[in-house]
Amino acid sequence: MEVRELVKRYPKAQTNAVDGLTFAVAGGEIFGLLGPNGAGKSTTIGILTTRVRPTAGQALIANVDVMVAPRTVRSLLGVVPQRNNLDRSLSVRQNLLFHAAYHGVPKAVRARRAEALLEQFALTDRANEKPELFSGGQNQRMMIARTLMHDPSVLFLDEPTTGLDPAARLFVWDRIRELREAGVTIVLTTHDMDEAAALADRVGIVDSGRLLALDTPAALVRGLATGASLQIAVELADERGLAGLLDRLGTLAGVQRCEQVGAEALGHTIRLYLTGEPAAMVGPVAAAVAEVGARLIGVEIGEASLEDVFIDLTGRSLR
């Protein structure tokens, strides 16, 4: 799957919703598009799934241009939209069966597949009910099961766990991981950095329709100017020893810089910005603290997250 210089400007809009996106997704990969609401994630999915006409650029699924052969593309992809679009006039099972029929799946195959997916997505009990009064989690499970009925090779999940409770969210995550094991290419959008970090092999960070960074979650975090950090609390015998301690800590190998971030009755909090692994620095830091006659009373490892990457790139928080 590949997009090249993709641009979408909606009629009457002042700016481009998608503004020159270029990226490629390898077969069997989980690719996450991470960005705040309105970043252009859903529009990008819309173009790739033939529902939005791009203003410029090209989008290819399995080397097929979505604009040139939309029907071929639709037979290859599965879509789980952000909003519930289940057929409320049909039962759960019928939703699955008719979806497969629309895609020309033979009758025997669709019956077999429906039973297996109902089982896998824990829907067998309610298979004959209409999805009118289902919870968000059940609807989401149904929509994923439905789209798998025609055995798509690329699966698009638009905000797959937004609004779900933690258990439902983990259930969906597990199913997504199973699909990757089965070789399905997955493109998911999310504004949740934890989700991107937990699921995606690679993450593209988008904002205002532009791709700001693209790499594995680990590499994105590592690439931060401010990487991991270590926060310590110390008790000083003499208040005047603080400057000396900060100087001493600053000279340790692996410490980029350090600063006092809090002072309380119990002691001082100092944050050390590190270039290496935080855990490996605990020993040398403790030794340095002891050296100046202070007492170490607390240590906390602060791992940088994709949220920090986003703040670093845009100067704004993700939410």
């Binding site: 399995a62 029907r71 071929t72 290859l76 939209p81 006039s89 029929a101 020309g104």
Partner: protein, 264 residues
């Protein structure tokens, strides 16, 4: 290179989408028939039976009214079967998305809706015949007119479906109720349903011109040409031609609207 979906697949897919609509309607066939037939049945009873029995209208009036009411039922049923679900599916339930993502061309998804609305309209108008016998005692029928009757009803239903698609895709969803109130009532009373169009020439020329713009007029007049040719009517071939023209116009408009709603 990936091979595209075959024509056979497209036909199967189209058939499945149509089957879905038939299955869903089949589940509440009685509700569907009650919904579309209540109004024409009352029309038939009050104007065809009651007023005639009381002596306010001549006995021939029911023969004039019946073909018009069948025509109205067919067209209005098709418009409603198309417009309301289309508005809901595009705006609120989003149900149409699953079909728009099937390996079907866009025109086939729209075409299925037209075919289904037409089927509903034809079923409703067919049921009007036994109801007519029940209410009126007897209805005008002419075996010679059967071909024209089927042709006019079929084209009338298709035109109704395409009008429904045009309204359902061009009118913003929040305004659909007001749009229907403003569109339906004039359509109902300018479609030569309750009066023979040619007779208007001597009395109300302006109303005749107005009626000539309403496609339902040609369905009503075509039905009279088929069933009661002794009543003044527009010749059948002109009706068929006018309906074919309306179909071309509203089919094109409806498809433009559908494409506009389906793809951003």
């Amino acid at each position: 290179m990936v091979r595209g979906p075959s024509f056979a697949l497209m036909l199967r897919s189209f058939g499945s989408v149509l089957r879905r609509d038939i299955v869903v309607t089949g589940k509440d066939l009685v509700a569907f028939l009650a919904q579309v037939l209540l109004q024409p049945v009352f029309f038939l009873f009050v104007f065809g039976k009651l007023l005639t029995s009381l002596g306010y209208t001549s006995s021939g009036y029911s023969n004039l009214l019946f073909p018009g009411l069948v025509a109205l039922t067919a067209t209005v049923t098709a418009i409603q079967a198309m417009a309301f679900p289309l508005v809901a599916e595009f705006s609120w339930t989003k149900e149409i998305e699953d079909r728009l993502l099937a390996p079907l061309p866009l025109w086939a998804v729209a075409g299925e809706k037209v075919v289904f609305a037409t089927l509903r309209a034809l079923v409703a108008s067919a049921v009007m015949f036994p109801i007519g016998i029940g209410v009126l005692g007897s209805i005008p029928y002419r075996a010679d007119g059967l071909g024209l009757l089927i042709g006019v009803l079929l084209l009338g239903s298709l035109v109704g479906a395409c009008i429904g698609m045009t309204v359902g895709t061009f009118v913003p969803p929040t305004k659909i109720n007001i749009a229907f109130a403003l569109i339906f009532t004039p359509l109902l009373f300018t479609g030569a349903t309750q009066y023979p169009w040619p007779s208007l020439g001597q009395h109300l020329r302006w109303f005749q011109v107005l009626s000539a713009v309403n496609p339902i007029t040609y369905v009503s007049e075509g039905m009279r040409a088929a069933l009661v040719p002794n009543i003044p009517h527009i010749p059948g071939w002109i009706c068929l031609l006018a309906l074919a023209g309306s179909l071309a116009i509203f089919g094109t408009l409806g498809m433009i609207g559908f494409r506009h709603r389906a793809i951003d």
